[in-house]
């Protein structure tokens, strides 16, 4: 039985090195500005959480094996090597204190995409057996049971019947040839069942043909979170197979952050070819319907609302205006957090941090950045479009006993639909 060794970790790192990585490490001047954009450093003040330091293993492999000068130095034994002890020590830096939110990549003066390099470095960490237990467990469960939380279709079936009885509408399952295949995330099914009810009502209202798939309902991708393309490819392949089998033209990624990144941006490269269908986040679909006038709403939320943009959606995928258009449709007292959209601060739980129990204190520390943003605007409620962000906001606000409920945007849209005649 082969096992995960340092050598395989190094091989994985070598496989990840490309032109951009070489350009980035050639340009870093150690100015430290990436730290000012990282909630984990800003709130803890511990310089070891400086983003560029997190990718040191990748830098050492690049330096000593991918440059003439570095190769020369390493033959003379002058370059710092990557050891197993180092990777063990770096586990905390690259996982517990990094949500892959990409804010460091946005502010780096010389243009280093540090988030992309964190993703690449994690490949080496997994291959050398240095990944957090929580993420490993999630990945194993996702592959063996189909969901990182071990959720089975029969549990979802219960929820489907419940939605059908309460809304009187049908939740289509395994319907071939429809417009959209909707994916769900285990977090939503378990914590926020109102999402399924909301999309059922909205799609019916807007006359959208959609379906779920018993073959694969799980949108989240533990492989992307842990940073291993083999696991990630396997999970994405399931989504593609389900979509192809049902012959749908579009796949909807639910109110989740990394699921969208996994399917929309990384998926095609994981399976090595473009998709025969398009991929949208639910917010993109809703805004399209709004723009096409297929969503009629009534009444307005009047209390003071503010919004948190999930990093994977806004900064890393460019979905920024859509949620604002939707928000203005149903709320007339919406106020932006000071730094929002592509400059939004991370809630602290993304990139696998929430599945990594050991990172709990750091996750809470990072949340203080979001807390400070919210206090600046002091809204009555917060709106967001990602189950993990929503859980993190709820737990965080509760921790600091701030009585600010958190609402999902899709659910809020559904509440304002005009009843069909």
């Amino acid at each position: 039985m082969s096992e995960l060794t340092l050598e395989r970790g190094l091989a994985a790192l070598r496989a990840e090195i490309d032109g951009p990585v070489a350009a980035f490490f050639s340009s870093c001047v150690h100015c430290g500005i990436c730290a000012t954009a990282c909630p984990f450093y800003v709130e803890t003040g511990d310089p070891k959480y400086t983003p560029i330091l997190k990718v040191e293993p990748l830098r050492r492999v690049w330096k000593s094996e991918f440059t003439l000068w570095g190769r020369l130095l390493s033959t003379l034994g002058l370059t710092k090597k990557v050891t197993d002890e180092m990777l063990a020590e770096w586990e905390e830096l690259i996982y517990d204190s990094c949500s892959m939110c990409g804010r460091c990549s946005l502010v780096c003066p010389v243009g280093n995409d540090i988030q992309a390099m964190v993703r690449k470095t994690r490949e080496g960490m997994v291959a050398s057996g240095h990944a957090p237990e929580g993420l490993i467990a999630a990945s194993v469960r996702a592959i063996q049971t189909g969901s990182p939380m071990g959720l089975q279709w029969k549990t979802l079936q219960v929820q489907i019947e419940h939605v059908q009885s309460s809304t009187g509408l049908e939740v289509p399952v395994d319907k071939a040839g429809v417009d959209y295949l909707a994916m769900l995330s285990s977090m939503e099914v378990i914590n926020f069942p109102e999402y399924l009810e909301a999309i059922t009502k909205i799609f019916d209202h807007a006359g959208v043909t959609w379906t779920l798939s018993t073959q694969c309902f799980e949108a989240t991708n533990a492989g992307i979170q842990i940073g291993n393309k083999d696991v990630a490819a396997l999970l994405v392949q399931r989504v593609v197979d389900a979509a192809v089998k049902l012959g749908v033209k579009n796949v909807i990624s639910p109110e989740c952050g990394h699921a969208y990144t996994a399917i929309r941006w990384e998926g095609p490269n994981l399976i090595g070819k473009p998709y025969p269908f398009k991929v949208f986040h639910i917010i993109e679909v809703l805004d399209e319907l709004r723009a096409a006038g297929r969503i009629k709403t009534e009444g307005m939320e009047t209390d003071r609302l503010s919004m948190h943009d999930p990093c994977n959606l806004a900064r890393k995928s460019g979905v920024i205006d859509q949620q604002r258009n939707l928000m203005n449709l149903v709320a007339d007292n919406f106020v932006e957090l000071k730094e929002h959209g592509k400059y939004q601060w991370c809630c602290g739980a993304g990139g696998g941090v929430s599945s990594n129990e050991r990172a709990e204190p750091l996750k809470l520390a990072a949340f203080k950045r979001k807390k400070a943003q919210i206090e600046e605007v002091s809204p009555a409620r917060m709106v967001t479009m990602c189950a993990t962000c929503r859980t993190q906001l709820e737990e965080g606000l509760e921790e600091f006993n701030m009585d600010i409920p958190v609402v999902g945007l899709t659910e809020m849209i559904a509440d304002h639909l005009v009843e069909k005649a």
């Binding site: 350009a23 001047v29 400086t50 330091l53 991918f66 502010v107 460019g318 920024i320």
Partner: protein, 220 residues
């Protein structure tokens, strides 16, 4: 190399040849090490093109966003000051223009000497402030390596020796000018093997960053 004139002629002659050769050879090797490895094809359907956003980031990334400016004003302001100062002195000081004209065959109008002299003084002060910041700021202290201080040293030495030569503080002048030219040559020789490569690779890195964000529909 016993006497100043020999030293000056050595720095302006063979040493300059060597420095330029090592610089050109090393830098080209480094750039090729980036371009030849290149990027794997990206099959995800792009939201926008790569070239436009990439080029855009090459310029916009020089201007810090308000949040970064508020949280690291020193880096942004002092960094701007000495980078712009260094470039003004390098590209608009008339003797340098003569050097550029001899290397590239063309040059452009320069600034009067007293203006460049003032800019040099400001650059020197800003450079010293940058060193103090690197020595004291917790993040910089943690991530700085010996190379950072060596590169700071050689950059400061080049500007300082030029300033002292211009003001004829070191006598005899051939020694002062020789020291300035030698420090610039060491700067060139070190360039391809240290973070000084950022002078050329920042454009590439920013383009890659901008292209990656732009492909996903974000203007960075």
């Amino acid at each position: 190399m016993s006497d100043p004139m020999d030293f000056l002629l050595w720095t302006k002659g063979p040493a300059f040849e060597w420095a330029i050769a090592i610089f050109a050879l090393g830098l080209l090797a480094r750039l090729l090490e980036i371009f030849v490895i290149g990027r794997r094809p990206n099959y995800a359907e792009p939201r926008a093109g790569e070239w436009g956003p990439g080029m855009r980031t090459v310029f916009t990334r020089s201007i810090a966003d308000p949040g970064t400016f508020k949280s690291a004003p020193f880096n942004v302001v002092v960094g701007w000051i000495w980078h712009v100062g260094f470039l003004i002195v390098l590209l608009l000081f008339i003797p340098h223009l003569e050097l550029i004209k001899s290397l590239l065959g063309f040059a452009w109008p320069g600034l009067p000497n007293p203006v460049v002299d003032l800019v040099t003084a400001v650059t020197l002060v800003a450079l010293v402030a940058t060193l103090v910041h690197r020595l004291t700021h917790p993040v910089k202290k943690r991530i700085s390596t010996v190379e950072d201080y060596v590169v700071w040293g050689i950059t400061f030495l080049v500007v300082l020796s030029g300033y002292l030569a211009y003001h004829r503080v070191i006598n005899p002048y051939p020694l002062a000018l020789g020291l300035h030219i030698l420090s610039a040559e060491i700067f060139l020789i070190l360039l391809p093997f240290t973070k000084l490569t950022h002078i050329f690779t920042t454009v590439i890195a920013r383009w890659y960053n901008g292209a990656s964000f732009g492909r996903r529909g974000v203007a960075s």
